[in-house]
Symmetry: C2
DNA sequence: CCCATGATTCAACATCTGTTGAATTGGAGT
DNA sequence: ACTCCAATTCAACAGATGTTGAATCATGGG
């Protein structure tokens, strides 16, 4: 006859699946996607690892839920920007794209390391999940660039696909690497490293693609809000 | 009484530690640094996992040996380029830096994914090992840029630290991501993607930093050899 | 008041990881 | 021919990982 009588049962407070996602994001942010263990996520969320399997089918499903929560708003905003038929000059539209990405990604190192980790693995690692989320974003920006060429604001030689890649990748790189790596490797004083980095980058980028690079950039709205 | 009589003993052919490093590199290239297991490396090398511990103290030591084999030649070439006191215009010197990096890294996806993986992890992940190997490389390029400013070839506002970062990071990104990710996400036809990407990038970069961006680039030597 | 159902936990599983100690072999030196 | 050492392998360790089945609790409905 066994004598089991241990305090199991649920915590008094219910656990919202969103709280688990928050915890997962936090752990991904500091451990990387691959190294983040379910037990670490559960510890961060303050629950049992098995509970995660009650709310999500698997680790991968949790990952998918994370993407589904973060990407659609970005897609929508960039989509609106690309469809917009106003008179805004190309430089301002591109800067607006950077601002949108920045607003949505700057406080979410988890999703960034997650994107990078999966994308960087290469062709087969780029899970179709991520590809589907990212593709519309890239297409919107490519459209901005193509229209810039058509309007004559950009050089005729500009290759929209490649320059889209330059823009988006460097945005991510600056967010993650400039504040941490640059001070250690190149003795750059931290300070407002990210804002300075992005502004400098856009200035360089714009001179690189503009038909008339000597024409100074219009005053750009600040990065946040 | 046990009855042990199994065929142990060494393989007929001795195993050069360099062969193990080659195998490690191959596995790192396709699995990523973190996910690459010693057993997978041993399988690739065709030896027992324990043998790796005979030649190297640990996985980390093997990693260090990999870096020590690859980086010093790059450091030397870039160092010579930075010290060179000739008349070569700044644009050609910078393009030469890109060519040097390209020559040494283009056939070594293992070392690239290894650099990226460790660097991207952020501040504490950037092991001092890598930092010490990379720092001199970055410093050489920064010196090229600073001299370009001093000579009046580059804009006065150019920030050498940041623009060094732009140059080096995008080189790595192009090598790894342009051929694999771009065709899948942005429908870019593969073909000579890397060479085209690097040339396009340098053209954009140069217009971004040059004092006179309208002055066309001099003819650039081909990337390889 | 009872019971069904949803939420939570415990304990265990098989598997993989880096690492080590002891056993075994081949060949070089004498 | 014998010895000794370097090189290699086997088997096992302790710990971590993703996952699952069954047990437990809390609570709302009848």
């Amino acid at each position: 006859m066994p004598a089991p009588a241990r305090p199991r049962g649920p915590k008094p407070t219910r656990m919202d699946p969103d709280q688990i996602l928050d915890a997962a994001l936090a752990v991904f942010a500091r451990e990387g996607l691959h190294a983040a263990s379910l037990r670490a996520i559960a510890r961060q969320a303050g629950c049992d690892p098995a509970l995660i399997y009650y709310h999500f089918d698997s680790k991968e499903a949790m990952f998918a839920a994370l993407l589904a929560r973060r990407f659609p708003p970005i897609r929508q905003e960039l989509g609106r920007l690309a469809e917009e038929t106003g008179e805004r000059p190309t430089a301002l539209r591109l800067w607006e794209a950077i601002r949108i990405l920045h607003r949505h990604l700057k406080d979410d190192p988890g999703i960034r390391s997650l994107i990078r980790g999966e994308i960087v693995r290469g062709a087969e690692g780029l899970s179709d999940l991520i590809k589907e989320q990212i593709r519309p974003i890239a297409l919107s920006i490519r459209q901005l660039l193509a229209e810039g060429v058509a309007r004559g604001d950009l050089r005729a030689e500009v290759q929209p696909s490649l320059t889209t890649f330059f823009l988006v990748r460097m945005e991510l790189e600056i967010l993650d690497l400039v504040p941490t790596v640059l001070p250690r490797v190149l003795d750059l004083p931290p300070g407002d490293a990210v804002a300075n980095g992005l502004a400098t980058w856009f200035d360089l980028y714009w001179r690189g693609i503009a038909r008339d690079p000597s024409m100074p950039l219009p005053p750009l709205p600040r990065l946040d809000a």
